[in-house]
C-alpha cells in the first residue's frame, strides 16, 4: 500500500523498459469518463430527490439542507505538497520545479546543468510528460537517477504524483531534485508540488510578450531562464523587452540568459542553485 495516501495503487518503477510511474490514479478513472458522451444512466421514471424538493409536500418542509464547507479547492493538493516539502526537508533535499511551454529546451538545459554540477551537488530528476519515458532516458544518459511520471491526459504534475515519485526515487540526503513539469505554460502554475522554487524557462524563439500572455506562471516563479540565447543573432527577439515584461508581472523575479547548446550563462545558473540550496539549508537549520 502507498504510504503517501494509502491508495494501494502506487506503482512507480525505475525500469526504463517498462512504462514508468504508471500510478493507477483516481484521476485516470475520471478522465476515462470525461469524454464518454454515451447515453446517460438517469432513470427517467424514478423519483429524483436530487432535483429540488421532490416528494416533500408538506409546506415549508424540504428534504434538502445546506451545509457550510468553506474549503479551498486546492487544499488536497496543498496538503500533499506540505507533506512533500516536509519529507524533502527531512533529508535536506533542495527541489526545483521547472515549468515552461513545450519545446523551450528544459530537458536539454537540465541535462547540461547536471553535467556542470557533477562533483559539486548530487542531482536526481522527476520527469513529467503525458506519454513516453524519453526525457527520463535523456537524463539517465548523464548518469543522474531519473524517474518518469506519465500523466496520461493530465496537463500538469500534482503533489500527489510527485509524492509517489519522491518515495520511489529516494533522493540521497543533501542532494538537489529537479522536477521537470509537463510542458504547459498555464496549468502547472497553480499546483504546488512541495518545491523550494519554481523556475520558468522561456526560449528566445517564443514571443517577448509571453510573460504578459501567460502571467500566472511568471508570477508563480522565482527564477526565469531565458534559453536558446545562441539563436539570438538569427532572430529579432528583444531580450530587454522580454525581461521588462516578465518583471512587470513579477518584480521579484530573478532572470538569467542561458544557452543549453553553448553553455552560456550556465555557470551563473549553477551558482544560483548552489547559493539557493545553501540559503535553504541555513533557513531549515535555523527553524
Amino acid at each position: 500500500m502507498c504510504s503517501v495516501c494509502g491508495c494501494g495503487e502506487a506503482q512507480v518503477v525505475l525500469d526504463k523498459d517498462k512504462p514508468v510511474a504508471e500510478h493507477a490514479h483516481p484521476h485516470d478513472h475520471v478522465h476515462d469518463h470525461s469524454h464518454d458522451h454515451g447515453p446517460h444512466h438517469h432513470d427517467e421514471g424514478a423519483i429524483d430527490y436530487g432535483r429540488g424538493p421532490a416528494g416533500a409536500h408538506a409546506p415549508g418542509v424540504s428534504q434538502e439542507r445546506m451545509v457550510a464547507i468553506e474549503r479551498d479547492i486546492l487544499s488536497k493538493n496543498d496538503a500533499y505538497a506540505r507533506e512533500n516539502r516536509r519529507a524533502l526537508a527531512a533529508k535536506g533535499v533542495f527541489a526545483l520545479n521547472f515549468v515552461s511551454s513545450p519545446g523551450s529546451g528544459k530537458t536539454a538545459l537540465l541535462a547540461r546543468t547536471i553535467v556542470a554540477l557533477k562533483g559539486r551537488l548530487a542531482v536526481s530528476v522527476i520527469e513529467g510528460d503525458q506519454q513516453t519515458s524519453n526525457d527520463a532516458e535523456r537524463i539517465r544518459a548523464t548518469g543522474a537517477p531519473a524517474i518518469q511520471i506519465n500523466t496520461g491526459k493530465g496537463c500538469h504534475l500534482d503533489a500527489h504524483m510527485v509524492g509517489h515519485a519522491i518515495e520511489t526515487l529516494d533522493p540521497e540526503p543533501n542532494s538537489t531534485l529537479f522536477i521537470e513539469n509537463v510542458g504547459n505554460l498555464v496549468c502547472p502554475a497553480g499546483f504546488d508540488l512541495g518545491e523550494a522554487h519554481k523556475v520558468v524557462v522561456l526560449s528566445v524563439t517564443e514571443g517577448e510578450d509571453k510573460p504578459l500572455k501567460y502571467p500566472d506562471m511568471f508570477a508563480a516563479a522565482d527564477l526565469l531562464l531565458l534559453n536558446k540565447s545562441d539563436l539570438l543573432p538569427h532572430l529579432d527577439f528583444d531580450v530587454g523587452l522580454c525581461l521588462a515584461n516578465a518583471l512587470r508581472i513579477n518584480p521579484h523575479l530573478q532572470t538569467l540568459v542561458v544557452s543549453a547548446k553553448t553553455g552560456e550563462g550556465l555557470a551563473a545558473f549553477v551558482a544560483w542553485i548552489e547559493a539557493s540550496a545553501a540559503r535553504r539549508a541555513a533557513a531549515l537549520a535555523k527553524a
Binding site: 469518463h33 487544499s75 493530465g154
Partner: protein
C-alpha cells in the same frame, strides 16, 4: 485544462463532507471563484457533470459565485478594482498594484438530501 483536476477536488470535497453528514446525495454545490483566479468557470461546469457521475454528487447543480478582483495601489494609496490579474491601476496607470481579492478558489457550501 487543469479545471478537470480542480473539479475532481470540488467533487471529492463535497462527497467527503456529504458522507460525514450522512447524506444520501448532494443536490447543489456552491463554489467561490475569484475573477482573477486562473480558472475558467465554463470549464468547471463542463467538467462537473462528467466528474460527479457515479458519486453522491451525481446530478448536483454546480453554482459558481464570481467574486470581483481588487488590489492595493501603493502609488494612489488606496484599494482599486482590478478586472485582470497584473493589470495596471485603473486610476494612475501604474503597474505596482498588489492583488488583495479575486483569486479565491473555494467550495463554500452545498445542499444535501
Amino acid at each position: 485544462m487543469h479545471e478537470m483536476s480542480l473539479t475532481e477536488s470540488i467533487v471529492d470535497i463535497a462527497v467527503e463532507a456529504a458522507r460525514k453528514e450522512g447524506a444520501e446525495r448532494v443536490t447543489r454545490v456552491v463554489v467561490d471563484v475569484g475573477a482573477l483566479s486562473h480558472v475558467e468557470p465554463e470549464a468547471l461546469e463542463f467538467c462537473f457533470a462528467a466528474v460527479s457521475r457515479g458519486t453522491l454528487a451525481e446530478g448536483a447543480r454546480l453554482e459558481i459565485a464570481r467574486l470581483p478582483g481588487a488590489g492595493w495601489c501603493p502609488d494612489c494609496g488606496k484599494t482599486v478594482a482590478l478586472a485582470e490579474r497584473f493589470a495596471a491601476c485603473p486610476e494612475c496607470g501604474g503597474f505596482r498594484v498588489q492583488m488583495t481579492a479575486g483569486d479565491e478558489l473555494k467550495v463554500r457550501e452545498m445542499e444535501i438530501a
